[in-house]
């Protein structure tokens, strides 16, 4: 998985495959982005090809961090397998997901 | 080629290193033991030469070199090294033995004096 972070706009773009092995960089990124001031945090998933259950678990961690810091978390543009995973786990109702 | 005479009788630096690292009584006992060990080496070399066993003579010299150098008997170690590694024939070694005997005596005296001072 690759992560691009735009700190000024609170935008994160993820690409590739988001799995178990990305635990540490993702956690670091979450801590960092929510520590910086701002309003909404947007994670752009439109170039993410694959997510496993560990990846979904990490999104829950980000959601928890957003709640704690009173920030809005938006997941943008999931496609393919990622979109199917969101549907089957009903994560699309748990998060604010923008098409 | 260095000759034994060019080498100081005693390596004082080595003795000081030992003095710093060892129990004084233990060091004295070993210094006293060295001359008799050297005498034994001398007899062993003589016996080996008499038996025509040159390698055995060199081995005896090798052992003497080890303990003499470690206990600071520098010139004694040097003669032993010469016998072990440089002298080619039994005749050359035999010719060297009186010198070895003298150095054992001189070393013994000097170490005894050193041990008293220490």
């Amino acid at each position: 998985m690759q992560i691009q972070i735009d700190r000024t706009s609170g935008q994160i773009a993820m690409s590739g495959e988001f799995t178990f092995t990305d635990h540490i960089p993702f956690k670091q990124m979450v801590t960092e982005i929510f520590a910086a001031p701002g309003k909404a945090v947007v994670i752009d998933l439109s170039r993410l090809d694959f997510i496993d259950s560990a990846g979904l678990g990490m999104l829950l961690l980000a959601r928890d961090e957003a709640k704690k810091t009173h920030r809005e978390l938006i997941l943008r543009g999931p496609i393919g397998q990622v979109k199917r995973m969101f549907t089957v786990t009903k994560f699309n109702t748990l998060f604010k997901v923008e098409e | 080629m260095t000759t034994a005479a060019d080498v100081p009788l005693i390596d004082h630096d080595q003795l000081e290193l030992l003095q710093a690292a060892l129990d004084p009584g233990e060091l004295r006992a070993m210094l006293v033991q060295l001359p008799s060990a050297a005498d034994q080496a001398l007899s062993a070399i003589n016996a080996a030469l008499a038996a025509g066993d040159l390698p055995q003579a060199r081995k005896a010299a090798h052992v003497l070199k080890g303990s003499a150098s470690s206990l600071g008997a520098a010139r004694l170690a040097e003669v032993a090294r010469t016998i072990e590694l440089e002298l080619m024939t039994a005749g050359e070694i035999e010719a060297c033995l009186p010198d070895l005997a003298d150095i054992i005596v001189a070393t013994s005296d000097e170490l005894a004096r050193w041990a008293e001072r220490a």
């Binding site: 799995t19 178990f20 694959f50 496993d52 259950s53 560990a54 979904l56 678990g57 990490m58 829950l60 961690l61 928890d64 397998q81 549907t87 089957v88 786990t89 009903k90 748990l94 | 390596d11 630096d13 080595q14 000081e16 290193l17 030992l18 003095q19 710093a20 690292a21 060892l22 129990d23 233990e26 060091l27 070993m30 033991q33 060295l34 060990a37 081995k59 090798h62 052992v63 070199k65 080890g66 303990s67 150098s69 470690s70 206990l71 600071g72 170690a77």
Partner: protein, 429 residues
């Protein structure tokens, strides 16, 4: 005392021997009694107490076996055996393959030094003996050896414990006899495949007998894998058996398990869960799912394989979720296949994943002549999974087959073919 001696003194004192090394077993092998005494004297002055001696190469070998030294100080030239040969022979003994051997040598010949290290020497000590060098090298090599052994002991202890945990986890799975009994009673066949990606996994499946031959099959998959996920499978197993009264009601069971797991699991941890009650008398399946991969279902002799909707919040994410029970027909001739995403998302040699649709297509090629075990094998093969291939994720597959009528020995043969696959891939059950 002269100034020179004072500095020498300090140099030795600074190298005070660390605690815990003083009782190390040290073997001094030297044919010269004076040298042995000198080396021992230096070591004893530094409080090393456990010292023994060997007068030659052969006696050194003997002492190594008897005294089992932590460190060997070896003279290079001894009359009966060269130091190099002693080194080689000691290294050939597994217990001493890595123990420190310090060779004492007067040589500075580069070729000879090379031979010395090639023979297995850990380090060398120059002659004449320099006491500070002797102590420093002895300490360094003893410490290195001690930490290496501590690390090995730790690794061995952990792998023993992981192995014990692995066996316990295997015991959570349905035992073959109960499974066979349930299959016979319900006049159908059951086959399974379960393989964790490492020793311990986050997948769990089980069979819950209900009544009149009806039984429930559940398949759970915790986030992640390894010890963390494995411990959660133990929790879940206990919870499932706590709610025996709900085993006939999938929706109610999932709702209850969710309430419990929400309180137990840390944020970011959850389980996908599929539970199906198989009632062969009524010819009905009752199921509920918590975000598990869809079940594959073939209904009746002429049915085509299809995916059953399995959407739902995974267990442990949100409080107060009500899971619905769906009912589906399961007449004679039907087949039900449950799997964890380790199968559908297994990346083959080209990095491609078969996905739910690929599994569906493969299942359509599996005629009724195939046993459920053969169906599983074919799906694994289609996913690119071979018995030896390492798994990135824990993988579980359960196949319930009503296609063939009951034949007396089928259950037995089924288990016999099921077990080798499951066991070889579980690492020798």
């Amino acid at each position: 005392m002269s100034p020179v001696m004072a500095t020498v003194d300090t140099a030795v004192d600074e190298r005070a021997v660390p605690e815990g090394l003083a009782d190390a077993r040290i073997l001094i092998a030297d044919d010269d009694p004076l040298c042995r005494r000198l080396v021992a004297g230096v070591l004893r002055a530094q409080k090393f107490t456990n010292i023994e001696f060997a007068e030659g190469g052969l006696s050194a070998m003997e002492q190594v076996r008897r005294f089992r030294p932590d460190l060997l100080l070896l003279d290079m030239q001894m009359p009966d055996m060269s130091g190099l040969d002693v080194c080689r022979q000691i290294r050939a003994q597994p217990d001493f393959a890595d123990a420190p051997i310090l060779v004492q040598t007067a040589t500075v010949d580069r070729k000879k030094m090379g031979e010395l290290f090639a023979a297995g020497a850990s380090d060398f000590l120059s002659k004449p003996i320099n006491p500070s060098e002797l102590i420093a090298r002895v300490v360094v090599h003893l410490e290195r050896w001690n930490s290496l052994r501590a690390l090995r002991d730790y690794r061995e202890r952990i792998s023993r414990e992981v192995e014990a945990a692995r066996r316990m986890q295997v015991e959570l799975l349905p035992d073959p006899i109960t499974l066979q009994w349930a299959a016979r009673t319900a006049d159908l066949r059951i086959a399974s495949y379960n393989r964790p990606s490492s020793e311990l996994g986050g997948d769990l499946w089980g069979m819950l007998p209900i009544s009149n031959g009806a039984f429930g099959i559940f398949l759970a998959d915790f986030t992640g894998h390894g010890i963390n996920a494995a411990l959660n499978t133990f929790r879940l197993h206990a919870l499932i058996h706590e709610y025996k009264a709900l085993h006939h009601d999938p929706g109610a069971l999932l709702s209850m398990l969710n309430e419990r797991l929400v309180r137990l699991l840390r944020i970011g941890q959850f389980a996908t869960f599929m539970y199906v009650v198989v009632d062969h008398r009524a010819g009905v399946l009752k199921s509920a799912s918590a975000g598990a991969p869809p079940a594959l279902l073939v209904q009746g002799m002429k049915g085509r394989a299809r995916l059953c909707d399995s959407s739902g919040f995974p267990l442990g994410v949100e409080r107060g979720v009500r899971y619905r029970t769906s009912r589906r027909k399961f007449p004679l001739g039907s087949l039900l296949l449950l799997f964890s995403d380790g199968l559908s998302e297994f990346p083959d040699a080209d990095g491609k994943r078969i996905g739910d649709d690929g599994l569906l297509a493969t299942l359509d090629t599996c005629g009724p002549a195939l046993t459920p075990q053969e169906v599983i094998d074919r799906l694994c093969a289609a996913a690119g999974m071979t018995e030896g291939s390492p798994l990135p994720d824990d993988t579980t597959i359960v196949c319930i087959d009503r296609r063939a009528g009951h034949r007396p020995n089928d259950g037995l043969r089924d288990r016999a073919t099921t077990q080798p696959v499951a066991s070889s891939s579980c690492g020798g059950r």
